[in-house]
């Protein structure tokens, strides 16, 4: 079977397959990863001029293998001078298994628990996403040398941890998958950071996270948590055009122009979350996605089924002890039973040390006070919240509410 035709955009879909094939055959994850990056570079310069090869995956594997052998030989030459000599790996370019798909194994390797979250994120974007170090740097607003350092250190750590190229054992599969999901969700939320200013020439991290989660979902279609995460991303991403106004100002959910929501993404998200909720007892991602779906299905903000959302937040509170979930439940409680009920829920978490540096309790309090008509108090809390956030658009939004607390819809 011939590979399907490849456009430049689809090139990166092949990256985990090519890298997986190399690592399975040769080991040396870190060196293979460098070799694949060089093969991608070669493709980027040769394909536009010479045309896309008939079997792009085979082409990439062949070029990357040659480069890998060169890299291993020069490494071994250096080792030979320093210590024991090892025979070079023989070049082999035929007999690759076409059906073997190692993308999943690769994703688990990049999200190895021995790595810090920023390291997992950078390594996943490069080794599974096929992004260059420069692209990752621009996307994360981090200098390229810093990203390069994070990636090479991450690869060294994976090697030191003695990680093998195989799927996690069944007894640790769920725990390892949780880490993978957390990394993918982190990539997604990073996409919402630093979106002001010149976005030209920047990889859109949220879209990249969706692409990688699709890859995971295609390989684990029966997992409710994976389907739930993909649904959550799609339902959140569907609102991207409506969530910022002129000059990058933040537009809250209840004031967004819902005609600008991406209906196709919402339909796909709703289908996915429906299936994910049937797959088993709902976890964090399924419930978050279900809440996003309820919002998405309301034609106008005032049509929102708040009792349903409140019920979902109560379920969510039972599967996680996150105080942020309680803050969100306080808002839902206020929408169903009035601001006083919301403030009572808020008081149960206001002193939580995990929220000590967060602007959120103050922002929720301001919002609930504004709902109750206590505008002077609300303005004071909006200002307190604005002082604590380090997000520019959020700060501008909170300060605008401090000037006009009555703008909070009741």
């Amino acid at each position: 079977m011939a590979d399907p035709p490849v456009t430049a955009e689809h090139l990166r879909d092949l990256v985990p397959q090519v890298l997986g094939a190399l690592v399975r055959r040769y080991g040396h994850f870190d060196t293979c990863e460098d070799a694949v990056q060089e093969a991608l570079l070669a493709a980027a310069t040769q394909w536009p001029a010479q045309g896309v090869p008939e079997e792009p995956r085979t082409w990439l594997i062949r070029v990357a293998s040659r480069r890998l052998v060169d890299l291993l030989r020069s490494e071994q030459a250096r080792t030979r001078r320093e210590a024991a000599w090892q025979p070079p790996v023989p070049p082999a370019v035929s007999g690759w298994s076409r059906d073997q798909d190692d993308s999943l194994t690769l994703l688990f390797l990049c999200c190895h628990p021995a790595l810090s979250a920023p390291a997992q994120l950078a390594l996943t974007l490069r080794a599974v996403g096929g992004l260059s170090t420069a692209e990752i740097g621009r996307a994360l607003l981090t200098p390229e040398p810093t990203v390069a350092q994070r990636i090479s250190r991450a690869k060294a750590k994976v090697r030191e941890a003695g990680a093998t190229f195989r799927l996690p054992a069944p007894e640790e599969f769920d725990e390892r998958l949780d880490v993978v999901l957390a990394v993918l969700y982190l990539i997604f939320t990073e996409g919402y950071v630093g979106t002001t200013g010149d976005t030209l020439d920047r990889v859109e991290l949220s879209a990249e996270a969706i692409r990688l989660t699709r890859l995971l979902h295609a390989r684990l279609p029966g997992r409710g948590d994976v389907g739930g995460l993909l649904a959550l991303m799609l339902l959140t991403h569907a609102r991207r055009d409506a969530r910022t106004g002129p000059g990058g100002a933040l537009v809250p959910l209840d004031e967004q122009d819902r005609t600008r929501w991406d209906r196709a993404a919402i339909a796909e998200g709703v289908t996915l979350v429906t299936a994910a909720l049937r797959a088993g007892p709902p976890g964090f991602y399924q419930l978050q996605a279900a809440i996003a779906a309820v919002h998405a299905e309301a034609p106008r903000a005032r049509d929102t089924d708040w009792p349903q959302i409140l019920a979902l937040y109560r379920l969510l509170g039972a599967v996680t002890d996150s105080p942020v979930v309680t803050l969100n439940r306080a808002v839902a409680e206020a929408m169903v039973h009035g601001p006083a009920a919301g403030l009572a829920v808020l008081d149960t978490v206001a002193g939580d040390p995990r929220l000590a540096r967060s602007h959120r309790p103050a922002a929720v309090r301001a919002h609930l006070l504004a709902m109750s008509g206590a505008h002077v108090e609300a303005a004071r809390w909006f200002r307190a919240a604005a002082r604590l956030t380090t997000n520019r658009s959020e700060q501008r939004f909170l300060l605008s509410r401090a000037v006009d607390p009555a703008a909070t819809p009741r």
Partner: protein, 114 residues
């Protein structure tokens, strides 16, 4: 999360420092090791030592230029670093090491994003 670390030092000490003393050389070695460590971990976005505050100029609206630093105090800004790290606890831990090893007072400010 990105943080700006501002290291303040006593102007009197700056003006009387003995650059051949063991203490001074130990500070230099500490900074060299720390920069290497934070570069290796991918957390350091940049760091510079500053010229003497006597070289500062302060510019105010209306092109009013005055010589000297913004505020005349005994404690003056000596160096800065920009870190991209896991969170405030980590930034404070790095600042504490600088304060303990060099004796500078280090202000840690979060950098806005988004």
């Amino acid at each position: 999360m990105k943080y700006l670390l501002l290291a303040y030092t006593s102007l009197a000490e700056w003006d009387t420092v003995d650059v051949t003393s063991e203490e001074f050389l130990a500070s230099c070695a500490f900074y060299a090791d720390l920069i290497k460590e934070l570069t290796d971990s991918g957390e350091l976005l940049g760091t510079e030592g500053l010229g003497h505050p006597a070289l500062s100029h302060t510019v105010r609206r209306g092109s009013l230029v005055s010589e000297g630093p913004f505020a005349e105090t005994g404690e003056v800004l000596a160096s800065f670093a920009v870190l991209d790290c896991d969170g405030q606890d980590r930034a404070l831990a790095v600042a504490a090491r600088i304060a303990d090893a060099v004796g500078d007072t280090v202000e840690v400010r979060p950098i806005m994003h988004g």
